[in-house]
């Protein structure tokens, strides 16, 4: 399908959504205090970032501090969760012995929703960055581990045979064959982890810290500032989107070969 140029195709649904939303508020279908119009949100958002108009009152100009706090937590949690998860996934994928020893534990713990860890993490770490980074790390560990294991197990046996035939030792087999072959799955795990990290940073900031976009969102809700709530929501969505794009860009850069091997969608 190619009725319009690609930029038009990309812009169509967000523009339509904003127009309907604006219209609903404008004709009085919903009250402005319950659901502020896109233009109101934009106005508040601008002040939130720049502090120029005081439209966001007590939140005026605080955006960068909150955003930086959230971004730091997401990446700190993501870093340790994904690093450990990928390592665990590799070990489990490589060895049936390690799988038998660790996999039952991982499968049970994985099925405890990460949000159920909030009370204990507060008891362990108190209020602050630590419980947030802990929760995000825990949440990102599992998708990374499970997808890495899957990726390692999926490696074509002919390739590992060929490498051994040519004289590859264990380390060369891992670095030159198994890791690159498992990379598509590892990157899928990272992408899922990044999504989960942004969910958990909001949960953590509502419950465990006094800064960040999640805290801003919850605090504005308590003060009936739905325009600020929506601006915070959109900020989180936007940062989540950018993080996802970064992971996708890295993936596409590393996995250019994979696009040639797979279906990859039609234009």
């Amino acid at each position: 399908m190619g009725l319009f140029a690609p930029p038009v195709q990309y812009a169509a649904s967000p523009v339509a959504l904003l127009a309907v939303w604006q219209a609903c508020v404008q004709i009085g279908f919903v009250r402005r205090h319950v659901l502020p119009a896109p233009t109101d949100v934009a106005f508040v958002w601008f002040d939130l970032i720049t502090g120029a108009t005081d439209a966001a009152a007590r939140y005026s100009g605080t955006w960068f501090d909150h955003a930086a706090a959230s971004i730091w937590r997401v990446f700190a949690g993501f870093a340790w969760g994904v690093a450990l998860g990928t390592l665990a996934g590799l070990l489990i994928g490589l060895s049936r012995f390690i799988e038998r020893v660790f996999d039952p534990t991982i499968q049970v713990v994985r099925n405890i929703p990460v949000t159920a860890w909030v009370p204990l993490s507060l008891v362990f770490f108190g209020i602050g960055n630590a419980p947030a980074v802990f929760l995000i790390g825990l949440g990102t560990f599992f998708p990374a581990a499970v997808n890495t294991t899957h990726g390692v197990r999926q490696v074509n046996a002919t390739l590992t045979k060929a490498a051994r035939m040519m004289g590859a030792n264990e380390r060369e087999l891992l670095v030159r064959v198994i890791l690159p072959a498992a990379l598509p799955s590892i990157m899928t795990g990272m992408r899922l982890s990044m999504g989960i990290a942004w969910v958990l940073v909001v949960v953590a900031e509502i419950l465990a810290v006094r800064s960040g976009l999640g805290y801003l969102l919850n605090d504005a809700y308590l003060f009936y500032r739905n325009d600020v709530v929506i601006a915070a929501m959109l900020s989180i969505g936007m940062l989540g989107f950018i993080s996802d794009r970064i992971v996708v860009l890295v993936r596409n850069h590393l996995l250019e070969w994979n696009r040639l091997e797979t279906f990859s969608g039609q234009n």
Binding site: L159, G167, E172
Partner: protein
């Protein structure tokens, strides 16, 4: 003296229906620079035999030796070509050929770049050097596979139906190409196939296997002059050999089908 020697080799697999004997009492000697093909009906254990020689699998009993040394795992002295060309999809053609040369096990004096260049030239892949495997045809993929195996300079070539997935025309071109390279290098070669034409065309000796459990039914000397061109197939002695081998293979295939 035999380069490759098999003595009373037996291989059994455990399956849901109990033990399955894939190979029973295989005895075979392959001399230096000999081209041996193994032909048999599907399921006769010919690929299993090749896996044992490659060192990917171990025999249940019996002895397999290369130059008198028992086979213990795969190694660069025995280059293997698989039915599906074993190419690393993330590497270019040139990097695939260089793969074995960049491993620590590589003992070549020449730099990988020089050998890769030579291999690209020999296999007619110079123009495709930076392409990825996904961009190549089946015949070209097997060319790259041949080049990457030859690059590590094994003294023995083990081939498991490498042209089985190719169309008839490409297959016959690849057979000729393989012989051309073999005439130059004279490596000891063992080639597994179910294609009787191919088995005779390539071989000094053709080993015909029985239906499961696989045994050596008969070893047939192919005394056609070398170098062979593809049109040797229409000569009387080739046709006579083919008819003879076809007769035995058919007999075994029917017997195998009746047993299972």
């Amino acid at each position: 003296m035999a380069r490759i020697s098999l003595r009373h080799v037996e291989k059994t697999f455990a399956s849901r229906h109990g033990k399955v004997t894939a190979l029973a009492d295989i005895n075979l000697d392959i001399v230096d620079q000999e081209f041996i093909t193994i032909v048999g009906a599907s399921g006769c254990g010919k690929s299993t035999l090749l896996n044992l020689l490659a060192g990917f699998d171990t025999a249940t009993s019996g002895e397999l030796t290369v130059d008198g040394v028992p086979i213990d795992g795969p190694g660069p002295d025995r280059g293997v070509m698989f039915q599906q060309a074993a190419l690393f999809p993330w590497l270019s053609v040139a990097d695939n050929i260089a793969f074995g040369l960049r491993l620590r096990a590589n003992r070549h004096k020449a730099s990988p770049e020089i050998i890769v260049e030579r291999m690209l030239k020999r296999t007619g892949l110079l123009a495709s050097r930076s392409r990825r495997p996904a961009e190549l045809s089946g015949g070209m993929r097997q060319r790259v596979a041949i080049a990457s195996v030859l690059a590590i300079n094994p003294s023995i070539l083990l081939m498991d139906e490498p042209f089985g997935a190719l169309d008839t025309l490409t297959r016959s071109i690849m057979q000729e190409f393989l012989l051309e390279i073999w005439e130059e290098e004279r490596k000891t070669a063992l080639f597994v196939t179910h294609d009787i034409d191919e088995a005779i065309y390539l071989a000094d000796r053709t080993v015909v296997m029985t239906a499961r459990p696989g045994r050596v039914r008969e070893i047939i000397s192919v005394d056609l002059p070398r170098p062979r061109r593809y049109d040797v197939r229409s000569e009387k002695c080739f046709i006579a050999l083919r008819d003879y081998v076809t007769g035995i293979v058919r007999e075994e295939a029917i017997r195998g089908a009746a047993d299972t």
